[in-house]
């Protein structure tokens, strides 16, 4: 898991960094302290940037079974991906799963986030935020185990349904696409709730009060006043969920089972099991590229409509 928490928080703290920027600008430069940055930059360079360049080289290399060193300059790995219906199907499935998860997360997360942001009792509020945040830090392996316990043929959900007489035979839930969607929703919901909560906190209650005091009904106020104000924030929350879902590994592997294939597990399979590094590398870059293109395209659309993001 791990991954999951990380990316999310980044986008949530834009405001903090923005404030840090304005403060830094007003302080005097300290030229001699620059070397303090070097160890950390070296760590990222060695652990991330150089490896990514190497992988880029692999992704345009010719695959020779048994040979490890990358050779040649070719686009054949990318061509193979985009001309093989099998891989295009996996990409399509990954995008579909991510999209459905994002939509459900929005529908479930929006009310929760709104309620969270309007609770004034400090203890209840802290407790609810902790209930959202803590599961996020528990790791995907553990949460996948939880869903397996719940959704297995003799799991809690099936047992309860049989016990209450709603069904007589266990329904297959685990190792299906819906199970993956359910599992991913649970993984992503905390991100959605936390990011939307901060959006609603930021809007404040003044607008609501104004709308209500002018006679708008609560529902009308919500859809006509609050929601339009929150659109950019809602949008970045959705984007975050979508990106995390596209890159999910543990949930599809464990809850989806071997026949439900998505992109991230395929990268692992090609690199470690098949040992086709050039193809694994191009899969990884396609995964990253799709994420990146969607992010850019959708921010551009939003920028056009709302001016700022």
């Amino acid at each position: 898991m791990g991954r999951v928490v990380e990316q999310g928080i980044q986008s949530l703290n834009g405001t903090l960094t923005a404030r840090a920027d304005s403060q830094a600008a007003s302080s005097t430069p300290r030229s001699r302290a620059g070397w303090l940055l070097l160890p950390s930059l070296a760590l990222v360079l060695l652990g991330l940037i150089l490896p990514l360049f190497l992988m880029a080289k692999y992704s345009v290399s010719h695959f020779e079974a048994g040979a490890v060193v990358a050779e040649g300059l070719t686009l054949e790995n990318y061509v193979r991906f985009f001309s093989d219906p099998f891989y295009l199907w996996i990409l399509l499935r990954t995008l579909t799963v991510a999209f459905s998860c994002t939509v459900v997360c929005l529908l479930l997360g929006l009310p929760a986030a709104y309620i969270l942001s309007r609770i004034s009792h400090p203890i209840i509020k802290t407790a609810l935020i902790l209930a959202t945040v803590v599961p996020l830090l528990m790791g995907n392996a553990v949460r996948a185990a939880g869903w397996m316990v719940l959704l297995a043929d003799r799991g809690l959900v099936n047992s309860t349904l049989i016990f209450t007489g709603i069904i007589s035979e266990p329904v297959r839930i685990l190792y299906t696409g819906s199970a993956v969607v359910i599992g991913l929703i649970a993984v992503l919901l905390p991100f959605m709730i936390i990011s939307l909560q901060s959006v609603f906190e930021g809007i404040g209650e003044i607008y609501e009060e104004a709308a209500l005091s002018l006679g708008a009904r609560p529902w009308k106020m919500f859809f006509r006043v609050l929601l339009p104000l929150a659109v950019p924030g809602i949008f970045s929350g959705c984007l975050l969920c979508f990106v995390l879902a596209v890159n999910a590994y543990a949930t599809p592997v464990l809850i989806g089972g071997p026949s439900f294939q998505m992109m991230a597990p395929k990268v692992y399979e090609q690199a470690i099991k098949v040992y086709n590094w050039p193809f694994a590398a191009s899969l990884a870059f396609i995964l990253m590229g799709v994420t990146f293109i969607l992010t850019v395209l959708s921010s551009l659309t939003l920028q056009k409509r709302y001016g700022t993001v």
Binding site: M1, I9, V69, A112, L137, G139, G146, L156, A186, Y268
Partner: protein, 259 residues
């Protein structure tokens, strides 16, 4: 509205409670309701070498990654938060990049890179503790940078300058003036680093090897074959370790502020 809110919280919390509950079941195969309750699965889990080793590796890895990322991350954060210099934005994005690149992509890249180094030097680095430690320090770093720079926001820079003007050496000024300000950020950053390292899956996936497998990887490998009360006990141990970390950390900073 309240209804969807309840569904949301149930979806987030149910798997954790389910797995903890099942770990006490007195059944070999999971079925509801349980025949009775027992603690035997915890003993059984500890007796399985892969889980014990995995637990100890993850613990060591978490500590090493936290120390390394603190060591390189805290000085960098202080410079980032305090200095206005050319390329500051760039440096900041580089240091936060490990958050943005998807784990599976970064993991695959690092794996190929380490193998390449192995071929060039003849020294084994992939599938060793060292390789894992590098990967985990890397994913911990952004947390340190974010939380420590955040703790410097609103701190009065002039206090430090006053100390320097009045003749304090830079180190003394740091220790007596800056350190108390950033301490909550350092504690929070360290704690998050540990947790992020302890639960990491995608990065470690490519880098684990015989004798250096982490707990989450051991859990996933086992879950691919079966789900039983033993693995539920292992998962519960992971939940408890992280909860303990959060409770300890909560005494030093407000967890809700980290997000």
């Amino acid at each position: 509205m309240i209804g969807t809110c309840v569904i949301a919280f149930i979806m987030v919390l149910a798997p954790l409670f389910a797995v903890a509950w099942v770990s006490f079941f007195d059944n070999k195969i999971i079925s509801f309701p349980p025949r009775g309750y027992t603690l035997n699965w915890y003993v059984a889990a500890w007796e399985m070498e892969r889980f014990r080793d995995g637990f100890l590796t993850s613990l060591k890895l978490g500590i090493v990654a936290t120390l390394v990322s603190l060591l390189v991350g805290v000085p960098a954060s202080v410079v980032l938060a305090r200095g206005a210099f050319r390329g500051r934005e760039l440096v900041q994005s580089i240091l936060l990049a490990p958050l943005i690149v998807p784990g599976i992509v970064a993991g695959a890249a690092l794996y190929m890179f380490l193998i390449e180094i192995e071929i060039a030097t003849g020294v084994q680095v992939a599938m060793t503790f060292g390789g894992l430690a590098l990967a985990h320090s890397l994913i911990a770093l952004p947390w340190i940078v974010r939380l420590v720079t955040a703790s410097l926001i609103g701190a009065d820079r002039q206090l430090e300058e006053a100390a320097l003007v009045m003749g304090a050496r830079p180190l003394t000024a740091f220790w007596r003036v800056t350190w108390p300000v950033i301490r909550p950020g350092v504690v929070a950053g360290g704690l998050f680093s540990f947790i992020i390292s302890f639960v990491d899956l995608e990065k470690s996936l490519f880098l684990v090897g015989p004798g250096s497998t982490t707990l989450p990887i051991a859990i996933v490998n086992y879950l691919e074959w079966s789900i039983d009360p033993t693995i539920a006990a292992v998962a519960t141990v992971q939940i408890v370790v992280i909860a303990a970390g959060l409770i300890v950390g909560d005494r030093y900073f407000k967890l809700t502020r980290a997000f």
